[in-house]
């Protein structure tokens, strides 16, 4: 089982190396994240085409090994250590190592048992493994599946592929989340290290010690929820856009579109993020052809999923958008929603002083237009999230108390990266282009 688990992750690494070598040469972690999304999507397409989950589908990245491993000319060592080495950096690297190890022990101490992690995402994954498909009769039977049948399938497919490769085990499947956490931190480090070694190390530490990643019963690292995986794709899209806005590069815009598509395939909130990016592209007066390119890459990969979703049982919990005609009388709840949001932002037990700190940075430092665009994407996304509380049938305060902190987790890595770039200045961005 250990060998098969190792093979699974080597496959993901090989796929990432492949993208790194041929598409995004200056950004290994970004390539790994994009390949992770592509891996889930490609397995989905194979199963949607009626193929059963089997060894060849789960291990398709084996075919990429020769292309990925031969003749790599990039020099990772140049990217992964600051240009001006200092003794302090060794100390900070050691601190990150200790935090990572303790974080892994925290994640791997117990099998998954939190409500959504076990009852929604992992149950779907088990169904896929045991039925070798998501097209089985059980998957479409409202009495046989959990109460969110229309939740997207990226995470169940990823967990399911890992369990198919190894065994159905609620503990070892958490390694998938270790990998995703590693990519989140790696992307921030990689994007900052050439600009400022100090900013890179401190940003990674600042993100890695945010209490919400360890203390919350819903959505933390150990819970198996989809909130941290979706934050990986938000961060990926943000990094692509950081390159796109100053350069207008089509390939990075396509990458941003793909990252948005993967985020929507991870959680439905990804559509709100996609809408926010689109609005900001329009506000920034980008070319019409760019908008079409972004929409094509954000929408087309998800068309098979949207077509499948129509066939899935439709339960009342997921009917938020149907309440839009009733929104006017619900506007009276806006003050309550804002009050709860502010309380959460200042919740020291979840965030320390992260959000007030970041707000202060953005208020007191002059920012570049690129940072302002990305910040607008985050603010519009949060506004969309808050808007959904106007449509909920639950008690607003109760629902916000259990879900809003998780929604903030979606944008936390991207916000930390923007704050760091904001302080050090966004000069000479390392390009994601080939």
């Amino acid at each position: 089982m250990t060998i098969r688990a190792v093979l699974f992750f080597i496959n993901l690494l090989a796929g990432g190396f492949f993208l790194w070598k041929y598409f995004f040469k200056n950004s290994l972690f970004l390539s790994l994240a994009v390949f992770l999304g592509a891996y889930g999507a490609l397995i989905f397409y194979a199963l949607a085409a009626g193929m059963p989950l089997n060894f060849f589908i789960v291990n398709f990245p084996l075919a990429l090994y020769p292309f990925a491993l031969l003749g790599i000319k990039s020099r990772p060592g140049m990217t992964f250590w600051p240009r001006q080495p200092r003794r302090l950096y060794h100390l900070l690297a050691a601190a990150i190592f200790v935090i990572l190890i303790l974080g892994i022990l925290h994640m791997m101490k117990a099998p998954l048992f939190e409500r959504d992690g076990l009852g929604i995402w992992l149950t779907k994954a088990k169904m896929i493994v045991l039925d070798r498909s998501f097209l089985s009769e059980d998957f479409f039977n409202p009495w046989r599946i959990q109460d969110s049948p229309r939740y997207p399938l990226f995470l169940p497919l990823l967990e399911g592929s890992f369990m198919f490769q190894t065994a159905v085990n609620e503990l070892t499947v958490k390694l998938v989340f270790v990998y995703i956490w590693f990519l989140n931190l790696g992307m921030i480090y990689e994007n900052l290290v050439l600009r400022s070694g100090r900013a890179a190390f401190f940003s990674v530490i600042a993100l890695a010690v945010v209490p919400a990643y360890y203390l919350m019963a819903d959505g933390s690292l150990h819970t198996g929820y989809a909130d941290i995986p979706i934050s990986l794709f938000y961060l990926s899209a943000g990094i692509f856009l950081l390159d796109y806005f100053p350069t207008g590069s089509k390939i990075t815009l396509a990458g941003a579109g793909l990252a948005v598509a993967f985020s929507a395939f991870t959680k439905n909130e990804g559509w709100a993020f996609g809408l926010s990016v689109l609005l900001v592209l329009i506000i920034a007066r980008r070319k019409f052809s760019d908008l079409v390119l972004f929409l094509a890459f954000a929408l087309i990969p998800n068309l098979p999923w949207l077509l499948t979703m129509i066939r899935l049982p439709n339960l009342y919990q997921e009917h938020y958008l149907r309440r839009i005609p009733e929104i006017l009388p619900r506007l009276v709840h806006i003050p309550l929603i804002l009050k709860n949001a502010v309380f959460e932002i200042f919740n020291i037990r979840h965030w320390g002083i992260l959000w007030p700190l970041i707000l202060a940075f953005f208020i007191f430092f002059k920012s570049s237009s690129v940072i302002r665009y990305l910040l607008s994407v985050i603010l519009i996304t949060i506004a969309c999230y808050l808007g959904t509380y106007l449509l909920t049938s639950w008690d607003i305060s109760f629902q916000m108390s259990v879900s809003f902190a998780r929604l903030l987790l979606h944008v936390t890595p991207l916000t930390v990266l923007l704050a760091a770039l904001h302080i050090i200045g966004i000069k000479n961005p390392p390009s994601s282009r080939p």
Binding site: L102, G103, L105, H106, M108, K109, A110, P111, F113, R115, D116, L118, G119, I120, L122, T123, K126, M127, L130, D138, W143, R144, I145, Q146, D147, V168, N169, E170, L171, F202, I205, A206, V209, V210, P211, Y214, L215, L315, Q317, I348, R349, G352, I353, L354, L357, A360, F361, I423
Partner: protein, 136 residues
């Protein structure tokens, strides 16, 4: 200004470490303590008496009979859905109380056992489930 930023950052790190250090310390201890345990023991520790009782009960249902868990409202049912795939070929369904009297449904699904209902006062993790009833 640089000093001020470092001061703020240091404050954030100290506050965060204040909250997470005890948790990470405890987790490291738990990891070491449980890492040698068999999977079954570890699951029982996590899922508690509920898991043990349910497993014992469900394993005694004949393989060709299905069971139903009645626990409205639906949004509280996640913990029970996870049992679906532990006990193949037995099938565990989760249905609302109102459908239990629907003979067409119970016959079609070959449901012979009902495990418990919320009206029996069962609440996850607090009390053991009441005795099961065979559907006539």
């Amino acid at each position: 200004m640089r000093r001020f930023i470092f001061f703020l950052l240091a404050a954030q790190l100290i506050v965060s470490l204040y909250f997470i250090t005890p948790v990470l310390y405890r987790s490291a201890g738990e990891f070491i303590k449980t890492s040698g345990m068999p999977d079954q023991t570890r699951k029982e520790m996590i899922y508690g008496s509920f898991y043990r009782t349910m497993v014992d009960y469900l394993e005694n249902i004949p393989a060709d009979e299905n069971a139903v868990i009645i626990i409205p409202p639906r949004e509280y049912a996640q913990y029970f859905w996870v049992l679906n795939y532990y006990f193949l070929p037995r099938r565990i369904y989760v249905i609302p109380d109102s459908l239990l009297g629907d003979e067409q449904l119970t016959n079609r699904l070959r449901i012979k056992h009902s495990l418990f209902t919320r009206s029996d006062g069962f609440f996850f993790d607090r009390f053991p489930p009441p005795p099961s009833r065979e559907i006539k």
